[in-house]
């Protein structure tokens, strides 16, 4: 698989079809891949593809990195299902020129969240990790454990219905067969069933861990405003300290800004240094949007985002009768 | 222990609107507490953090000179959150002040030498401070030449004082505006060009430049051409600041903090720092 990927990228360079390929390379610490930028054929050797490739690489086409797109370079980008959906979103929102991209799809059966591995080892450092089909073996000083991959799968991957990029130019290997996962939002439904007091308590508890480092926003492919509303100071929407209401309004505001645009890649949650279950809010919104508007972000290049369109006679049960 | 983050209270004594657009206003502040007045020792070139409780703080250069007693003067351009609010201040209102902060123009080194002051726009504030200081100790200094430019005649600050300075014989004041305007009796042209044309002598002289970044950028080569040595070209920098005491970390140029190592630097020094200019 990895070999095929490297060959393909090498070929792209040799045929002068790309100036740059964004992919994953081996990280410097266990269970971690890192984004790499390949500019010549021989560097294709550094590419990898496995369950540690958790970054959503689409993020490198916007924000501060926009110049890559602006320079009209031909960019190759290696994508999982969710990353591919981000590219569709970018195309819909005129952030990229589709013709300047060479999308290289890879079959994804879910990436791991290394924070979850750390929980399995009770915080003990993992020095080496090996992956087999459905399990992984982790070793540290004085311990060695086997973990089911499903236990440490990223939150976003557990109920993923779209493992393959919806649009691609090249696919490495065979697209993953999609079986409908059935109930896509089980944890959201479970949370909805709690009473309001319990829900609020849970929110306060998890979001007071937030240190406002904005890693969630900065790794989010859908968050590409040149100036984020938290950074505006006249009016200043959000206080800068991690006071709980400011923090919550930041997260709610961010989630509302990506409502109908979030591809649920889970990059935010994996990036969070404070271990907050950030997808809990995103997925609630995605669920509402799916149920109400029958819309899922990043699947169709010709479909307008949910919050940028409307139907005249749609359900309005929440309006006072 | 003294809490350096707590501002001292100051009373607004006088408000002068400097331009017809009302974007520039000059405030004379006096000390509410006598003890603060006694403690406040400063020299031209230093700045203060002006503080409006509930709105925040902003740094401003002191436009008055220590030789003028009993008040501090600040000229403030309305650009952001805090300055907008400052513009609402009336006579009798209270504001907070922290300072004096930063270093100052090397007035001791100027002694016995000629001083050329090149200024642009509303950055003339600390230059006024310097000028008043020099004039108060007139006998200590040689020739004093001032080149002061603004986009149009309206945008000069301290217009009354400019009038009296123009009449003085112990100093030379050149005023210039960017484009010719009917009735304008003085020079026309950008500050760098006018400086080149007037060609003040670099002989036994120091030059102090302060103004918008573009002006500084184009004036410095002119001064070099006029043979001013780099260590005698003095300028004052601006960066975003918060604490003003070298702790909060944002105003650095290289290893130097504009708030505590600066804001006054010599060109000789700035040339060693790639991100300074």
């Amino acid at each position: 698989m990895v070999k095929a990927l490297r060959e393909e990228v090498k070929r792209l360079f040799e045929e002068k079809k790309v100036d740059l390929v964004i992919g994953w390379g081996k990280g410097s610490i266990p269970m971690t891949a890192t984004p790499i930028f390949i500019r010549k054929a021989e560097d294709a050797e550094h590419l990898i593809w496995d369950e540690t490739c958790s970054n959503n690489l689409a993020v490198y086409l916007t924000k501060d990195k926009r110049q890559l797109v602006k320079t009209n370079q031909k960019i190759g980008i290696v994508v999982k299902g969710c990353d591919g959906r981000s590219l569709v979103l970018y195309a819909v929102e005129n952030q990229i020129k589709r013709e300047n991209l060479v999308i290289i799809g890879v079959p994804c059966s879910g990436v791991i969240d290394k924070k979850k591995v750390l929980k399995q080892t009770a915080g003990k450092e993992v020095i080496s990790a090996r992956f087999e089909e459905n399990r992984m073996t982790v070793e540290g000083r004085g311990f060695k454990t086997e973990i089911e991959k499903s236990e440490v799968l990223s939150h976003s991957c557990r109920n993923c219905n779209h493992p393959n990029a919806p649009v691609y130019d090249i696919f490495i290997g065979e697209p993953v067969k999609t079986e409908s996962v059935g109930d896509v939002y089980p944890e959201v439904e479970a949370f909805e069933k709690l009473d309001s007091e319990a829900r609020w308590k849970d929110m306060v508890e998890s979001y007071s861990k937030c240190i406002r480092c904005y890693a969630c926003r900065n790794v989010c492919p859908s968050c590409y405003c040149t100036e984020c509303f938290v950074d505006q100071n006249d009016p200043q929407w959000i206080g800068k300290s991690p006071e709980i209401t400011d923090t919550l309004i930041f997260h709610l505001g961010r989630n509302l800004h990506v409502a109908g645009r979030c591809v649920e890649c889970g990059a935010c949650e994996r990036a969070c240094p404070a271990d907050i279950d950030l997808l809990k809010l995103n997925r609630k919104i995605s669920k509402e949007i799916l149920e109400r508007f029958n819309f899922t972000a990043g699947l169709d290049i010709n479909e307008k985002p949910a919050m940028a369109s409307f139907c005249e006679n749609e359900k309005q049960d929440f309006i006072m009768g | 222990m003294q809490n350096t983050y707590i501002p001292i209270p100051m009373k607004v004594d006088k408000v002068v609107t400097e331009d017809p657009e009302k974007t520039l206003r000059t405030y004379d502040l006096s000390f509410v507490k006598n003890s603060d007045l006694e403690q406040f020792q400063y020299l031209p070139g230093q700045f203060c953090e002006m503080s409006l409780l509930g709105m925040g703080e902003s740094p401003f250069g002191i436009a008055s000179s220590p030789t003028e007693e009993g008040f501090l003067r600040f000229t403030i351009n309305r650009t952001g959150l805090v300055t907008n609010e400052i513009h609402n201040l009336r006579q009798g209102d209270t504001v907070g002040l922290r300072g004096p902060l930063g270093n100052w123009y090397p007035v001791e080194d100027f002694k016995g030498e000629n001083v050329v002051i090149v200024g642009g726009g509303f950055a003339f504030t600390t230059l006024r401070s310097l000028l008043i200081y020099l004039l108060a100790h007139r006998e200590n200094y040689g020739e004093i030449t001032i080149i002061y430019g603004a986009r149009n005649p309206d945008l000069f600050i301290y217009k009354d004082e400019l009038e009296t300075w123009l009449k003085r014989t112990d100093m030379k004041l050149h005023l210039t505006i960017d484009k010719p305007v009917d009735g304008w009796k003085h020079d026309t042209g950008f500050v760098p060009a006018v400086t080149e044309q007037l060609a003040p002598s670099a002989e036994k002289a120091w030059v102090v430049v302060c103004g918008p970044p573009v002006m500084i950028k184009y004036t410095l080569p002119v001064l070099e051409k006029l043979k001013f040595p780099d260590d005698r070209i003095i300028t004052s920098l601006e960066r975003r600041m918060k604490c003003g005491i070298g702790k909060c970390g944002r105003c650095n140029i290289g290893s130097q903090y504009v708030c505590i190592d600066g804001p006054v630097f010599s060109l000789e020094f700035l040339k060693t720092i790639p991100e300074a200019l």
Partner: protein
Amino acid sequence: MIKIEKSNFVTFIRSLSAEYNLFAPTGEGRQSAFREVKDIKQINSQIQITHNSPKTVFLPQTEILFEFKGDDIQSVQKATKPMFFWGVRSCDARGLNLLDKVMGQSKQRPDDPAFQDPYWKARFDDAIILTLACNEPASTCFCNWTGGNPFSKEAGDLWAVETETAYLIEPISEKGKDFIKKLSGYHTASEKDEQKIKALKKQAESCLQPAVDTKTLKEKLPKIWDDPLWDEVSAKCVNCSACAFICPTCYCFDIQDEGKKGKGKRIRTWDCCMFPIFTKEASGHNPRSLARERVRQRVMHKFNYFWETYGESLCTGCGRCIRVCPVNLDIRDVAKQLLETASAA
């Protein structure tokens, strides 16, 4: 050097509580941090290095500078018992000393209290830091790159080593000497214990990777100020502040007013040079508007600027940033790359 048997540890810790507020490593994984300990059971001695550095106690993420009502300003500083920090690793103890140079002292105006941070001083000046030798450095640790050592006695007031059965403690600073003097009823460490320490130290050092001397970056970095390498280094950085906020020596902060005009508080809260607004001026001008400039700022501050001003590295090699970086931008790799390029330049 005195010896506290682990069986006596509870008594020792209890004896502290009369005079000190005890802080120690608590929690697990990414929630591990130095917190005030009321019950000895809260102490987690299994932690190699806490996820959050002790900085969070001395320079909290947010603190109130003062409160105001009308024009009336109230300082909110309260006198409390001094803090006793149990189990600070040598990298973090060093980090606190470096922070003290910036916050507690002022290189430029050493004698003027107006340039010292009163909040920092109130906490740090009386605190006793016990530096606990690192028997088992993590794979991300690189204190040996920045002049540190897992068994370093360079920083802190007391220095301790944990053996299987006991803690061996000796004073470092004057404060530490006074502290030890007041203790009674503990044995002095034996020759055998000293041997044990030597063996542990050797073992700890063997956990570390071979050192790369980052000291030379001080001279080398200015040479490659404009090198295209910075583009490469910063390419994957997404400009969040995870690295800065968990860093034991990143101290930048913002000052903000909260509340309304007439009533509220002035707070300070951590800020980070990775954010574009950090340096954005009211006019809209931003001296560091590009990602590469901001990444360069952070690296230069750690490995060059701080050297220039204080003659030390601002990186202590704790490795926290390596663990939290969402894109695995490894500072060790950056340092290596920079050294290579600079040496070639």
